[in-house]
């Protein structure tokens, strides 16, 4: 059950009630509305809620720390996904909506969500006819093959999702763009696309629905990072990068007149200006004074209680978007290639201390899987803190016995609040237990790609994971498998490589999560058990959404979207 905090609880409760009403009253219609508004049902966009259709048109400004990349196969962050999934639509998509409905798989470029055949090893997609990219080129099944090849060739962060396609491993090894990928058979004339897997994998449909599976014309989606010159998309909006600066950048999303995927929301707004900045406080002040209309970040410091109390009619908060915050431990280099070092950190970390750094928005955890995820079972008592408190003396003894006293450790974190404070906390704890810690702080836009590159030799640091799709394999597969560790940059920042995890993830991915929930729970306990201690999960964050007075928050908040955090296609003005 989702809980909401404080005065906004009532607002969200009403929204949730409306969601139920909307689910009963609307269908996933295949016809788009005349106004160009979202055709897919949305819990918060139910017109019955206010007796009128949400307003279409207008331009808004969104404050954000910005996409880490403007290449759909390369980006890693939620901020990138929120914006860029509107530019590139994949074979499949997630339903535009809020709450649990937003995790539902729907057809995108494909006419329907296919059922697997051949014992779960074959999927046949039929591409809709007469679809075009924003530059007028027709959408073809071979473009999807190009997208997968591009992902494998570039070793994009999500490339491991396609490893089960027949020939994918050989294609990656060949390091040749034109090498064959026999598991994908495209027939451009009929619009048919057949995908054959080496083994059943229930994640594969999601892998064709996430924003990173966005498709572009094969002639323009070249096999190198295109963040400086993004290729045309097939989504409801087109992208123009005005200034790619990660500290003072700007990008503009404008309606794509050629977009014609009936199941995917067309978006209410004519234009969305993304204003990129690293200063969350300025962003918050800009939303307060109406310069910006929404921000992708959470207010921090003194501004959080101020916004919570003074702007409760346009500020939403809750544990909506499944996530886990954790510290990665690089298992391949000293000192965390030693189990004792990893155990020591786990024993020493106090999630209730970190809760304070998050201003109370963090719920302590001992699990990697977040609450609400199928397979989540709270690990209780937590082996590291059986009495709820950290065991510093045990940690110190472990460091000493491993001969690591005084070992230099660099803590990696990024500059987005409150992450510098999180890094300082971790450094403080490491110093307390005997290491000699320093801190390295990077801009958020380059942070994850840096720690995910083995050449950086990042030893330990801040990390988080927000659900891409409702599947435990999204967490376990991306964060802990050998296949994920081979992507560059990798989400497996600790470069964990454990045959048991690989085997289990492969086996469990073959089945629908509810059928193997207990096995996922067992794997969750395994990765963070004292015998492995691969990483240090410490909390699940409540996320927020803050809007200007111009925005129609009642009908069009787009929050909480459990895949994109906030669905920008549902945002509208009053």
């Amino acid at each position: 059950m989702r809980k909401y905090r404080g005065p906004v609880a009532a607002i969200v409760a009403v929204a949730a009630a409306l969601a139920l009403a909307a689910c009963g009253g609307s269908s996933n219609s295949s016809s788009s509305s005349a106004s160009g508004a979202a055709s897919a049902s949305s819990s918060t966009s139910s017109s019955s809620a206010t007796g009128g259709a949400p307003k279409s048109g207008g331009t808004i400004k969104i404050g954000t720390v910005g996409p880490d990349s403007y290449d759909p196969q390369e980006y890693q962050t939620v901020q990138a996904d929120s914006a860029l999934h509107l530019v590139w639509t994949g074979l499949l998509a997630f339903k535009d909506g809020t709450g649990q409905a937003s995790t539902e798989l729907i057809p995108g470029l494909a006419e329907s969500v296919p059922q697997p055949t051949d014992g779960g090893k074959t999927y046949v997609f039929q591409i809709r006819p007469n679809l075009h990219y924003s530059d007028g080129e027709p959408v073809k099944p071979s473009d999807v093959v190009n997208m997968v090849k591009r992902n494998l060739f570039l070793g994009g962060p999500f490339s491991s999702f396609y490893d089960d396609i027949v020939g994918a491993t050989a294609y990656t090894a060949a390091k040749k763009q034109t090498a064959p990928l026999p598991g994908m058979i495209a027939d451009d004339a009929s619009g048919k696309l057949t995908i054959k897997l080496v083994q059943p994998d229930t994640r594969v449909l999601y892998a064709f629905a996430i924003g990173e599976a966005g498709v572009g014309p094969a002639s323009k989606a070249i096999f190198k990072n295109t963040t400086g010159n993004p290729f045309p998309g097939d989504g409801p909006y087109t992208l123009k990068v005005v200034n790619p600066s990660p500290t003072n950048g700007e990008f503009i999303l404008t309606k794509n007149p050629k977009f014609d995927v009936p199941t995917v929301a067309k978006g209410y707004l004519d234009q969305i200006d993304g204003m990129v900045s690293t200063n969350v406080n300025t962003m918050t002040e800009n939303v307060i004074n109406g310069t910006y209309d929404y921000m992708t970040e959470d207010p921090v410091g003194d501004l959080l209680p101020q916004v919570e109390s003074q702007y409760k009619d346009r500020f939403l908060i809750g544990p909506g978007y499944p996530n886990t915050y954790y510290f990665f431990l690089n298992n391949t280099i000293a000192p965390f290639n030693k189990l004792a070092a990893r155990q020591a950190v786990n024993y020493a970390i106090d999630p209730t201390a970190l809760q304070r750094i998050f201003g109370g928005r963090l719920h302590p955890t001992c699990n990697l899987l977040p609450p609400g995820m199928v397979g989540y079972t709270a690990i209780s008592p937590c082996p590291w803190r059986p009495n709820g408190t950290p065991q510093l003396s045990k940690a110190q003894a472990l460091v000493k016995s491993a001969g690591l006293t005084g070992a230099p450790v660099t803590v990696w974190t990024n500059t987005k609040d409150p992450r510098p404070a999180i890094g300082a906390y971790l450094a403080s704890v490491l110093n307390q237990i005997g290491f000699k810690a320093t801190i390295k702080s990077l801009n958020q836009t380059v942070y994850f790609s840096t720690i995910g590159d083995p050449k950086s030799k990042a030893q330990i640091g801040f990390d988080d994971w927000f659900q891409d799709f409702p599947h435990a394999g999204d967490f376990m597969g991306n964060l802990l498998t050998t296949a994920a560790a081979k992507s560059i940059p990798s989400f497996n920042s600790g470069f964990v490589s454990d045959p048991h995890i690989d085997q289990q993830v492969n086996a469990l991915d073959a089945q629908q999560p509810p059928a193997v929930a207990s096995q996922w729970a067992a794997l969750d306990a395994y990765v963070n058990s004292p015998t492995h201690a691969y990483l240090v999960p410490y909390g699940n964050e409540e996320d927020t959404a803050f809007y200007s007075t111009r925005m129609n928050v009642t009908q069009c908040s787009g929050y909480p979207n459990l895949v994109h955090r906030v669905d920008w296609a549902l945002l509208c003005l009053k």
Binding site: G301, D302, A353, R356, I357, G360, A424, A427, N431, I439
Partner: protein, 351 residues
């Protein structure tokens, strides 16, 4: 070695009339440094700020004592979940909503004398260690600036010709960059990757990086006026005499001209320290200076800015220390300038 006659330095144009005449009379037989000391002693304001600066230095030196014997903590130790007793009331060092406790003075036996920060660290301890950082960087950077500026000024001003042209153009280029922007650019680049020049390697978190950056970016601001002095000095009779005696250029530069630049350098030095401390604070505030967890005032202000309403002590206290230190150095430096060379109007400006 030749030093200009005392009468030349003491021909005070700033002090006219009877006062100047009296000073000239008293100055007979007194060396320039003694005379300057005498003038400085008369400047009570400058002396007061000099004493204040020494007090600040004393506080910085006492940091380990305070941390160990009074606060019982270190600069980086967090106390996020600890509870303090305020009379019958118990308060968390950092509340669940993230607000740190304010100054406790001696209510907790000296712990959290100036309160805690977001990480539950003792602000007083970080402030004192921050003073050490600021002073270390300020003095070391000012030394680097001074040495480099003197060398550049001597070579450019004495040798003239192609050497002067090349060095002056390099200085023009550096002058064109605002100091803070140049410092941030260098600081950001080096704070991530560190610095490796031949066998010398500086880790990214090393305090030597901001020292080098600050020392480097201010060279031009000291070298230019010094070069001007060297240019005028090389035409003086005592230099001509040295040349006539067959002294080489290097010897003239370092044994004849350099001693005569001493008074100017002494004037510049405290001002250079003040500017270096300020720039260090700018850079650390912007994340391009001292890297956490090493405490520095600029970094403390930066960390406290998010809590300026609920925990204003986080910004006010290091800000006040910064103001006092820079003010003390500037006023004392002005006093030294007036004492050594009341005619001089040269100052270091930061852009």
């Amino acid at each position: 070695m030749a030093i200009e006659p005392a009468s030349e330095l003491s021909s005070v144009e700033g002090a006219t009339g009877f006062e100047a005449a009296a000073e000239r009379e008293h100055a007979v037989g007194i060396g320039p440094w003694r005379l300057a000391g005498r003038r400085l002693r008369r400047n009570k304001v400058a002396l007061a700020f000099g004493v204040l600066f020494l007090l600040l230095v004393g506080l910085a030196l006492a940091a380990p004592l305070w941390a160990k014997d009074v606060a019982h903590t270190t600069t980086s130790a967090n106390h996020l979940t600890e509870i303090l007793h305020e009379g019958n009331k118990q308060v968390y060092v950092v509340s669940l909503s993230g607000v740190p406790v304010g100054p406790q003075w001696f209510a907790a036996g000296g712990k959290f004398f100036l309160g805690a920060d977001d990480n539950g660290r003792d602000v007083m301890v970080r402030l004192l260690y921050g003073a050490r950082t600021s002073l270390e960087i300020g003095i070391a950077a000012a030394l680097i600036t001074t040495v480099l500026a003197v060398v550049v000024a001597l070579f450019a001003g004495y040798l003239r010709g192609i050497t002067d042209t090349v060095l002056s153009r390099i200085m023009d280029i550096m002058w064109a960059f605002p100091v803070v922007i140049l410092g941030v650019a260098l600081g950001t680049a080096l704070s991530i990757g560190g610095l490796k020049v031949g066998p010398v390697t500086l880790q990214s978190g090393s305090i030597a990086i901001p020292i080098l950056i600050i020392g480097f970016v201010y060279v031009v601001y000291m070298a230019r006026p010094l070069r001007g002095q060297v240019l005028s000095m090389r035409e003086k009779e005592f230099i001509e005499a040295a040349r006539a005696q067959g002294m080489g250029s290097f010897r003239i530069m370092f044994t004849e001209i350099l001693p005569n630049l001493a008074s100017t350098i002494v004037v510049f030095f405290p001002l250079a320290i003040a500017n270096a401390i300020l720039l260090e604070a700018y850079l650390s505030f912007l994340g391009a200076g001292v890297q956490p967890p090493t405490p520095s005032w600029g970094e403390m202000i930066s960390e406290g800015i998010d809590r300026i309403t609920t925990a204003p002590h986080l910004t006010i206290v290091p800000g006040l220390m910064l103001v006092l230190t820079v003010l003390a150095l500037n006023i004392f430096g002005e006093g030294v300038r007036d004492a050594l060379d009341p005619r001089s109007k040269v100052r270091i400006s930061d852009n």
